[in-house]
């Protein structure tokens, strides 16, 4: 099938157009608006998948805004889409589509829904722009769109003091992070007079200013990706936002994580693979730094999850631990750059991005369903829900087994790759990872027995199963989880392997724009 190039900007432009049209359409009818939003997002998912099918076979695609070809010097904005970007774009569009279907019933009784859907579409455009763009300043603009939209959505339940506070915390953190990113972009622009990632990557010298820019970029984007010790905002925002929004926030967090990866592997890719300072090559330093952050994230995430009494905050700390697992795989991949087990570790880390988004997303949707049915968030008060909510219970079991890495579900497939490769680097890392995974299982099993099992309390007698649209969205994610769990090799060979090759093949990324180095 012939797939035209102009589909690439459409992946961002269609949600934007939808967002601008939503206020007008919600004048007509509320139901029409919901259908319109779902259709726009479905169309967008189709576009992303079409682009993906071309990229997984043909390699990198570029799109220049405003001119037919790349002119030198590169003044125009480029979208440069490789397998890694489109991998993230697929994750984001799946999460958003599921969240919107879930919102139909979940948010029905709230006011301000036209702005709610507008902001969801804007958030989608922001995330997709972040992952597809090939220009540093454009990345900053989309980062801001993402953070402003998600801040307003975190504070959606404005009458609840916690959510206002979480929204304020989030906007402070993300405004500061975005300003750091802008400062780093300004440093790079001042030195090299370029803004394009590929051009900058070709020119970068690793001077002192470049080091400062690298640190600022990693700190700022890591702060937005919820890596310990900058994770403080994450449990608050995940816990206080409506569940449908939390699922999209996972996508926004992962888009920031993508930014970290893009900076390390592509912007500084030249430096990473070749440069040696003081007899230690740069990749060892950066790699061990990331591994250390990862181990801290895993340990803190799991131990904090043990003591939580609120359902969504508990899952949020689980999400912090899962981000740690991704970073562990990626960091191990950077330490062992160029070896086979380094490649396996990188594959595991990237595969875990997909799995984490699905597993944690499913758990948050289950938590939202329980809130919808019982209006209760505290785990101490929930009891015996399995009697009335059979499907939700099944989905929760799938989610908990997947998130704690039990075979035969998808979490196992990626965690196994991480364990076996980190064992080659340092056995202690693998042991810590396995132990924490078991602890995570214990945490969620405890939740399962306290909330779903046990005697039926009289006040939950009239609890009903949640409406069909919510079941449908949970079902979609559960099906994908089971499918990936049954056929992990299919996903690894066709999607994850090209993505990790794209991350490592920075010279290809650069030569698409600069034309051979």
């Amino acid at each position: 099938m012939n797939i035209p190039d102009y589909l690439i900007p459409m992946a961002v432009a269609i949600p934007l157009l939808g967002a601008f049209l939503t206020p007008l359409i919600s004048k007509i009818n509320d139901k029409l608006r919901n259908i319109f939003v779902i259709l726009i997002l479905a169309l967008n998912a189709v576009i992303v998948i079409l682009i993906a099918s071309k990229i997984f076979t043909n390699g990198i695609m570029t799109y220049v805004f405003g001119a037919k070809d790349i002119t030198y010097p590169v003044v125009r904005i480029l979208f440069e889409v490789d397998a890694m970007s489109i991998f993230m774009a697929i994750i984001c569009s799946i999460l958003v589509l599921v969240a919107v279907i879930y919102s139909w019933a979940f948010m029905k009784d709230n006011t301000g829904l036209d702005k709610y859907y507008t902001l969801i579409l804007l958030l989608t455009a922001g995330m997709l722009g972040m992952v597809l763009t090939g220009d540093m300043f454009n990345f900053f603009v989309f980062l801001e769109i993402t953070s402003i939209a998600s801040c307003a959505l975190i504070a959606f339940w404005i009458d609840v003091d916690k959510s206002v506070e979480a929204g304020f915390k989030y906007i402070i953190i993300s405004a500061m992070g975005a300003l750091f990113v802008l400062f780093a972009v300004a440093i790079l622009y001042g030195q090299y007079n370029a803004l394009n990632i590929a051009v900058l990557s070709n020119l970068i010298q690793y001077s002192y200013l470049d080091k400062i820019a690298l640190v600022l970029l990693i700190v700022a984007l890591g702060m937005k990706a919820g890596i310990v010790p900058m994770h403080m905002w994450l449990p608050d925002s995940y816990g206080s936002a409506p569940s449908s929004i939390t699922v999209i926030l996972i996508g926004a967090t992962l888009a920031s994580l993508y930014g970290v990866l893009r900076v390390i592997f592509t912007l500084y890719g030249n430096v990473l693979s070749t440069l040696v300072r003081f007899d230690v090559s740069v990749n060892i330093v950066i790699g061990w730094f990331i591994v250390a952050l990862a181990v801290v994230s895993i340990i803190i995430g799991v131990t904090m999850a043990l003591i939580q009494s609120e359902f969504k905050r508990l899952i949020a700390y689980g999400a912090v631990a899962e981000i740690g697992y991704m970073l562990l795989g990626i960091g191990a991949g950077i330490v062992a750059l160029g070896t086979t087990y380094g490649k396996i570790a990188l594959n595991g880390g990237i595969f875990h991005i997909l799995n984490d988004a699905l597993d944690v997303g499913l758990l948050f949707l289950v938590a939202g369903s329980i809130y919808y049915a019982t209006r209760e968030t505290s785990l101490d008060k929930l009891c015996g829900l399995a009697r009335n909510m059979k499907y939700t219970t099944v989905f929760f079991i799938i989610g908990l087994l997947a998130v704690s890495g039990m075979p035969p579900l998808n979490g196992f497939a990626s965690k196994l790759l991480i364990y076996e490769s980190t064992f080659q680097i340092n056995p202690i890392l693998a042991i810590v990872a396995i132990l924490c995974s078991i602890l995570l299982l214990a945490v969620f099993v405890k939740v399962f027995f306290s909330a779903f099992m046990g005697p039926a309390l009289p006040k939950y007698k009239h609890v009903k199963e949640v409406p069909k649209s919510m079941l449908l969205s949970m079902g979609i994610i559960a099906c994908i989880i089971v499918f990936i769990g049954l056929f992990p090799d299919l996903i690894i060979n066709n999607i994850v392997e090209p993505a990790s090759n794209a991350l490592l093949g920075y010279s290809e990324y650069v030569s698409q724009v600069v034309g051979g180095i």
């Binding site: 934007l16 402003i148 307003a152 959505l153 404005i158 400062i212």
Partner: protein
């Protein structure tokens, strides 16, 4: 509370050092090292975009997609502010 203060002081110092060093190391004021991209725009703005104003040609033509993003940011902020100040109950 003391621990928190010490941590803030450390963070502040490190970040401060970063910003001060980078503002000392960057090229001297008024003497940029590279100017290829901007010279291209200054030379070609009238022919390629038909605009006399170089800044406008960058904002709306060369980097027009940024401006779409910028307009979107404003749109997002308006939607957010209206959402935050909405009435909570249906009339």
């Amino acid at each position: 509370m003391d621990k928190r203060n010490i941590a803030s002081v450390i963070v502040f110092t490190i970040v401060a050092i970063f910003f001060v060093i980078s503002s000392l190391l960057i090229h001297p004021f008024g003497m940029p090292d590279e100017s290829e991209m901007d010279d291209y725009i200054i030379e070609n703005t009238q022919e390629e975009t038909g605009a006399n104003n170089g800044v406008t040609s960058v904002v709306f033509d060369y980097r027009g997609f940024d401006t779409l993003g910028e307009a979107t940011v404003l749109f997002t902020a308006v939607a957010g502010v209206i959402l935050i100040f909405r009435r909570l109950k249906n009339d």
